[in-house]
């Protein structure tokens, strides 16, 4: 490797870091504004027009804030945990392409690399949970590990389904393979599995179990403040952006679908814009889900992962492989996928009510209750 190449890598990595930091600042603003509109609020309005400078004010505040170190902490672990969360979050971006040429290093085993690296950030969560010497952090860190296995298998399975379709693990090849038809149309089931597993990976509602504010008060990050908290937060948003980008690449056709009637520089620029629009659409979907859904319990997430996502992702892979092997038309896979989605939704719809009828509440008119007191008045054995 020449010095020139190394220089380009350094410049590229630096540029990527700057780009991601600015994106994260924008994401925090857009999340606040979007959630505010969902809740009929205004969101940040004071700093700059419509609060656009709010993220900068936040950054200044977080950097200048005192970094508190609780006295019982396991200091090396406590200080290293934010880095252990942050480094994998940035490392994923090495191989995520923005266009055919705009990528730091395209890897032939890119998907494998991403699946391997994304798991690492859980290590940081456990370190933070243990190092903080706080029982809530501890619970949160252990929850993060507990839920890891249940979503990681469907996550990888959904990726495999895409890899089988396009016969490659390189992200650029996968995007180029979708120039005719995007994977979301071929594999709607795979898309939903990846979305659910991705949400669990990000720890976003309805799977924000490890930092549930109302239960473990922020989980592993309870004790962090100032710049370290800022780094953790940065990593979370970088991860969100990464998952959204992966969804756009794996299922929405990246920059190549639907193909544009332009050539040259215009085409490059417009496809980049088109790709970013897709990413932000996915991010808004994630925020929308966050604004609507309650949180699941840890055991419910596990049973959802093992009993629903894992079997379904196997179905997805098997059918994809069959269709690929016999070179059948892709629409057959779409139909199979849609049918399985219908079955799953029906099962989920039925499950919570299975134990009881839906209308368990009956309304007794006050006049009736006075005239004929209900029978169960007499039946009660008061101990």
């Amino acid at each position: 490797m020449t010095w020139e190449a190394i220089g380009w890598y350094v410049i590229g990595a630096f540029g990527l870091f700057i780009f991601l930091s600015i994106t994260v600042m924008f994401l925090t603003w857009i999340e606040r504004k979007f959630l505010a509109r969902i809740q009929q609020r205004m969101g940040p309005m004071r700093v700059g027009p419509h609060g656009t400078l709010q993220p900068i004010a936040d950054v200044i505040k977080l950097i200048t804030k005192e970094d508190i170190l609780p006295s019982w902490t396991d200091k090396p672990i406590y200080w290293l945990a934010p880095l252990a969360i942050f480094i994998p979050a940035i490392a994923i971006w090495v191989t995520i392409p923005f266009s055919e040429t705009l990528v730091l290093q395209n890897l032939d085993l890119g998907l494998l690399y991403i699946a391997a690296i994304s798991v690492l950030s859980v290590l940081g969560l456990v370190m933070a949970g243990w190092g903080s010497a706080n029982k809530y952090s501890m619970l949160g860190g252990l929850r993060a590990v507990g839920q890891l296995i249940s979503y990681e298998i469907p996550f990888i399975m959904a990726i495999l389904g895409v890899a089988i379709l396009s016969q490659s693990l390189s992200l650029i090849d996968i995007v180029n393979d979708q120039s005719a038809i995007a994977n979301i149309i071929v594999q709607p089931l795979g898309f939903l599995i990846f979305l659910a597993a991705g949400l669990a990976e990000l720890g976003r509602t309805p799977f924000d179990i490890h930092h549930a504010e109302s239960e473990v008060v922020g989980g592993p990050f309870v004790e962090y403040s100032g710049a370290h908290w800022a780094i953790i937060q940065l990593a979370e948003y970088v991860n969100t952006f990464a998952i959204a980008a992966l969804i756009a690449i794996l299922f929405l056709g990246g920059w190549s679908w639907p193909s544009m009637p332009f050539t040259g520089i215009t085409n490059d620029f417009l496809s980049l814009v088109w790709f970013l629009i897709k990413i932000y659409a996915v991010i808004l979907l994630i925020f929308w889900i966050r604004g609507t859904f309650p949180r699941l319990r840890i055991d419910q997430l596990m049973s959802f992962g093992w009993k629903v996502l894992v079997p379904v992702s196997f179905i997805n892979i098997v059918f994809t492989a069959i269709i690929r092997f016999y070179n059948l038309h892709w629409s057959i896979l779409t139909v199979i996928s849609l049918i399985s989605i219908g079955i799953i939704f029906y099962l989920i719809y039925k499950t919570p009510q299975k134990s009881r009828k839906k209308d368990s509440i009956r309304i007794i008119s006050a006049k009736d209750a006075v005239n004929n007191p209900p029978k169960n008045y007499g039946d009660i054995n008061v101990r």
């Binding site: 959630l35 309805p206 840890i298 419910q300 499950t351 007794i364």
Partner: protein, 374 residues
């Protein structure tokens, strides 16, 4: 964290003791729960109260009868008018006062509105407890409508001091009727919307159905009242079993559950809001102009004696026991606070559930610490 903390002398792990509260986001005030955890499972729970004790009952003995109303405002600070009503009814019972009809209609309308606003707060924070962040803002949006209506009538948004001994402070302003009408229409729509957002959501159902089922026997043993008692399937509502005021003039329903789980408790409150709206609508139709204050002496001095009144506050059976020795100040005021009685059941309910459920169960009790600690 030290490993040695979690291992005993014989080398096996010990249960973790965790302090939930008094500064925890979902203990609804300054309530403290000491949980003994085996992993995520709760082995034992020990509730501690008293962080908001202000000695209200003792303070009542040093204030004159009309000043005590302000203290009752601060007991249940989510449904202030309902607590005011309970106290004023107790004094009126001692005085054997005849309250004008219009005063009763104003009281009933405002109390039912306050019940809706209290349940709306419950809806919001319950959503927050199960992890949804939008319901709380919808709940507060609706509460705001009611509170601005209160501001028009009583002059205050929370601590009204509006229901007085012998009636209410003053008649409603002329614009009240029109505003009340629009608020009722808006609330009808809003309740449907809130219902759609949360009630049938699969994640919400999974979190609340069949959690901490309470039997009728247990509920009665613990002295639980209000929506929690009704969720077990028992028909018990002071408004129908011992109708006070003018509640016998309205035709309204009492929602009754069947299993007594968290979802039943939640949905009973949603239905109660609808029933309260129907009471308000009937009251608007029946209301006629007239006096709002009974003729009485300015200095309240009830005869020697004691009395107990029960009312149905949004949280349950709110009773006031009042002893008068014939002087200007009450001799003893005892409040039978529904939140306090409902909280007794928490230890029983928390046995063997997950930590995440503890929050949901505590939320479903809908306690107000101001009333628990007094």
């Amino acid at each position: 964290m030290k490993i040695s903390e979690n291992i005993n002398e014989s080398g096996s792990t010990v249960d973790m003791l965790i302090n939930m509260g008094p500064q925890h986001p979902s203990t609804h005030g300054v309530f403290r729960l000491v949980l003994q955890l085996d992993g995520e499972l709760i082995v034992d729970a020990e509730p501690h109260i008293g962080y908001l004790h202000r000695g209200s009952e003792k303070l009542c003995e040093t204030e004159s009868y009309s000043q005590v109303v302000t203290l009752f405002d601060r007991l249940d600070y989510v449904a202030n008018l309902n607590s005011e009503l309970a106290y004023c009814m107790a004094v009126e019972k001692l005085l054997e006062l005849q309250i004008p009809d219009r005063a009763w209609y104003i009281r009933t309308i405002l109390c039912e509105l306050n019940r809706i606003s209290s349940h709306m707060l419950f809806y919001g924070v319950y959503g927050l407890d199960v992890g949804a962040m939008t319901p709380v803002l919808y709940g507060f949006r609706e509460r705001e409508r009611i509170q601005s209506l209160f501001e028009q009538v009583t002059g205050a948004r929370m601590m009204h001091n509006y229901i007085r001994i012998g009636g209410v402070k003053e008649d409603t302003p002329p614009e009240f009727n029109g505003n009340l009408h629009t608020v009722v229409l808006e609330l009808e729509k809003a309740i449907e919307e809130c219902d759609e957002l949360l009630t049938q959501n699969e994640a919400f159902l999974a979190r609340t159905k069949n959690i901490s089922c309470l039997t009728i026997e247990d509920a009665i043993d613990f002295g639980v009242t209000g929506p929690i008692l009704r969720s077990t399937g028992l028909v018990e509502d002071v408004r129908i079993s011992e109708p006070y005021g003018i509640y016998d003039r309205f035709d309204f329903g009492i929602p009754i559950g069947s299993t007594g789980d968290c979802w039943d408790r939640y949905y009973i409150r949603m239905q109660e809001m609808r029933e309260s709206l129907s009471i308000i609508k009937q009251a608007i139709k029946q209301m006629e102009p007239g006096e709002v204050q009974a003729k009485m002496r300015r200095i309240v001095r009830p005869p020697k004696g004691e009395c107990f009144v029960r009312t149905e506050s949004p949280r349950g059976d709110l009773g006031v026991f009042l002893v008068s020795d014939g002087s200007q100040n009450p001799y003893r005021v005892k409040v039978r606070a529904p939140s306090f009685a409902n909280l007794q059941a928490i230890k029983h309910m928390l046995e063997g559930v997950y930590v995440a459920d503890a929050v949901v169960i505590l939320g479903s009790l809908d306690i107000v610490l101001g009333e628990v600690d007094r």
